[in-house]
Symmetry: C2
Subunit: 334 residues, 2 copies
């Protein structure tokens, strides 16, 4: 079914049918009705592919997202929703291994999408710069390393970790351990730096342990090792919520109670952090807002130099740090 078929059926030119759909105001109401009726009858729908070829706009935004991780899934959902509101579609490119990225970016280039959201901590600066040098509108999502190279939107990792650190210190923590995700990523580095610096100001050290990933298992494993080494700190600051869930479960499996013996903080503000089972103290990322900004950067007029938007998150106080009284009584006795 093409516009030509409909045109023949109605007895107008193909161009009129096309206009009836792409700019209805340019066609007489009566003609438009007849065209619409015929289209409905014949089951005609304009061909977006053909339209794109001519107009050079696809109304498709590509999202390059890691295929795993609770956090990315929530981000994806937000993008998909907000893009739908703007009549854009989301073409999904997920990858599990940074090595696949090359392929992904190649097949992406073929689709002449209107813009790309690059959401992954594990893209190195070199590649980023190369992608950024293309024509294609691009925005890096939550990748501190992208700052300056390409337009980017991130949560304020530094501020967020400082606030979490301040909170555990207020709650009496004197010895703090930090469990990171993947040390090579800029997100991990930025978060750790924020925590370490804030704690240093309170005269507290913050030894870093790399868990090697961002998933539950990684957190679980890292915390188990910490327990086995003995010498548990007052608080464990964890680089991400999913990791933190693993940390909490590992601790409690080994009889270490949270927060009575050890406080735990996360980062991200996943829905599950609010679930009663964990009720995690964390830094909630304003995902909707971040996504909104990213889309604005992508679809809006391109700035002369790459904009870097940093949005503050919100401290969520859960029961994994509610232990001021415990520490105060400890101090009384110590």
């Amino acid at each position: 079914m093409t516009s030509t078929d409909v045109a023949a059926h109605v007895g107008v030119s193909q161009a009129t049918v096309a206009r009836a759909f792409s700019s209805p105001e340019k066609v007489a109401p009566a003609t438009r009705k007849r065209v619409e009726a015929a289209a409905a009858e014949l089951g005609y729908v304009p061909n977006a592919i053909a339209r794109s070829l001519k107009s050079q706009r696809t109304n498709i935004i590509a999202a390059v997202v890691p295929s795993v991780g609770e956090y990315w899934q929530s981000v994806l959902t937000a993008f998909s929703k907000q893009l739908a509101d703007r009549r854009q579609q989301l073409l999904l490119f997920s990858f599990s291994d940074p090595a696949q990225l090359e392929d992904v970016l190649t097949s992406l280039a073929q689709y002449r999408v209107d813009g790309v959201i690059l959401a992954s901590a594990s893209i190195d600066a070199g590649r980023l710069a190369r992608v950024g040098s293309q024509q294609l509108p691009l925005v890096a999502f939550n990748q501190p390393a992208a700052s300056g190279l390409v337009p980017s939107v991130s949560v304020d990792n530094d501020l967020g970790m400082r606030r979490l650190a301040a909170h555990v210190v207020e709650n009496g923590a004197r010895r703090v351990a930090y469990i990171g995700g993947v040390a090579a990523t800029s997100t991990d580095q930025t978060r750790y730096r924020g925590a370490a610096q804030a704690l240093a100001q309170a005269g507290i050290a913050c030894p870093y342990t790399e868990s090697g990933g961002w998933a539950y298992e990684h957190g679980y494993g890292a915390a188990r090792e910490l327990v086995e080494l003995g010498e548990l700190p007052d608080a464990i600051m964890v680089a991400g919520d999913e990791l933190a869930f693993g940390v909490i479960d590992a601790l409690e499996d080994r009889g270490v109670s949270v927060p009575t013996e050890v406080m735990v903080t996360g980062f991200d503000g996943l829905p599950q952090a609010s679930w009663a089972g964990y009720d995690l103290t964390t830094l909630t990322q304003p995902v909707e807002l971040l996504v909104e900004q990213a889309i604005a950067l992508l679809l809006g007029p391109s700035e002369p130099e790459p904009a870097d938007i940093v949005v503050a998150g919100e401290l969520r106080l859960g029961r994994t740090t509610k232990s001021s009284s415990i520490f105060e009584s400890r101090k009384d006795h110590g």
Copy 2:
């Protein structure tokens, strides 16, 4: 950058450049090298949009998926991965409200995708039939109601619930309650029927409570009401894992211990079900396998009549039902 530009640069015809990319074997090795070199230098990548216009294949599969729910996110990830392996892209259409479905299906039609995955419990049979009558290859994912109307792939809800029911009965449950999701959906109905029938065979009733959704909060709310009504059963069978997490947390928040006082079962086998914090007894859906079958149905030769594939899940025994001893001792005393 077009094939014509590259052709001019190399000194061959545009057709040769196009062939060098779409069917390299039809072009002399020497020419191909020169074309490839020029393309790399000029940054040329074939335009998939233009290709699709001519070839009538987009290599894009659309997925229509609810925008919320842990389960759908895991399904989406599986699709995205497996489609990438087959060099297909995933165009995502998410919707939060069944009312939006109409719009979604319309914009979907414009993109002339090669196939559609319809994954949502809340599409009524009428609409399904209408969509199915189009040209477009289609597969319904985990929608028992679709069976017979359009090709479909689902987990064996009935068998799964029967096995869970058998398990709780073996573990000594004599009074069982069922917490459903959305009663109007075929998934909910099929699961409940399986549980109710299996329990009936053991002479056990299975009163149904609708929680009104599939999210954590719905499970939490439904369980809270159950507790407030008093009269707790030996086991609560829940229609989905995410609901079950809410149920467990609601019970424990009110001092009802799981599984000592009440056993809980889920359905889906989300990653979180294996997390130590919940360690839920559930029916694990073989998501990878389901997705594989769905893709095969979509991309393979179309059958004369709609195929309905039903795949059995796997029983996962967690600690939310490990309580045989408790019940046995109760029986001793009762």
